[in-house]
Symmetry: C2
Subunit: 144 residues, 2 copies
Amino acid sequence: MLARRLLSSRLQSLRPFSSETPRVLKPGDVLRQTRIFTDEDVLQYSKVSHDSNPLHFDSEAARNVGFEGRLVHGMLVGSLFPHIISSHFVSPSIALSLNFVMPIVDDAKFKMSCFKNGELLVLGGEALALLQTLTMEERHCKEQ
Amino acid sequence: MLARRLLSSRLQSLRPFSSETPRVLKPGDVLRQTRIFTDEDVLQYSKVSHDSNPLHFDSEAARNVGFEGRLVHGMLVGSLFPHIISSHFVSPSIALSLNFVMPIVDDAKFKMSCFKNGELLVLGGEALALLQTLTMEERHCKEQ
C-alpha cells in the first residue's frame, strides 16, 4: 500500500531565532515552516482520522479522478496552520477558518456541522465533492 | 501526560444501510456519525501533526485560558468531515471550507497560506489567536 517512500521527513523554521534577542510578534511579521509529508505520515494520519479514502493510498485511483498521483490528506496539510502558531507561542487558543483550494467540479455540496455532546456547535463548514457515483457504499457504512 | 482515559473509542454510523436496497444520495439526505476521541487519539494526532500545544495535554494550562479542561485538537475534530464523506462514497474528491466556532477574544490575527512546492496555493485561511504573550518562544523554534 505505502511501500514507496514519498519524500524524506523534514520540518524546519525558516526564521531561526537568535538566542540573545527575544522576538516579539508585531504586525507584518511572517512565520514560515516547510514540511514534507511521508508515506508514514499519511498512514498514521489515516489511522487516527479513520480516513482511508483510496485517493491517499492508490495512485491509480487518484489519477482516475484527475490528480497527478496520491494526495496527502488535506486536513493533515491543514494541521500546519495551528502547529506553526503553537510552536511559536505558549499555549495559544486558536480559532481557524480554512479553505481548501481545489479546482473540482462539484456534483455534491454538503453542509457540515459538528456538535459536542450532540448540542454545542464547535465546527461548521461546507464540502464540495466530486463523487464517482451517488450510490452510497454499504460496505463502508457497515464497517463502522 | 495522557495517563487517564478520556472516553472509550467509538465510531458509528447513525443510519445503517439495508443490505438489500442500495441507497442513492439525494438532496436533503443527512449523514451522521458520532466519535468519542480518546487520550490515545489525541496523542497519536499530536505525533503526526507535530502539534503539542499544552492545551491538548495539560488540564491546568487549558483552564488557565478559560477552557473547562484539555481540548481535542480542532483539526482532529475537523477530520470527521472528509471522513464521513469518504466512508460513504468511492474515492470522493473533497474541497472543504471550515470555520471553528470558538468564542475567543483574539489579540492576534494570522493570515494563513499553504503552498505546495513553495508555489501552488493549496490551502488558505485565517487564524484568530489568544496569546499569553506576544514574545515568541525561542525554545520551540529551535526544536524544529
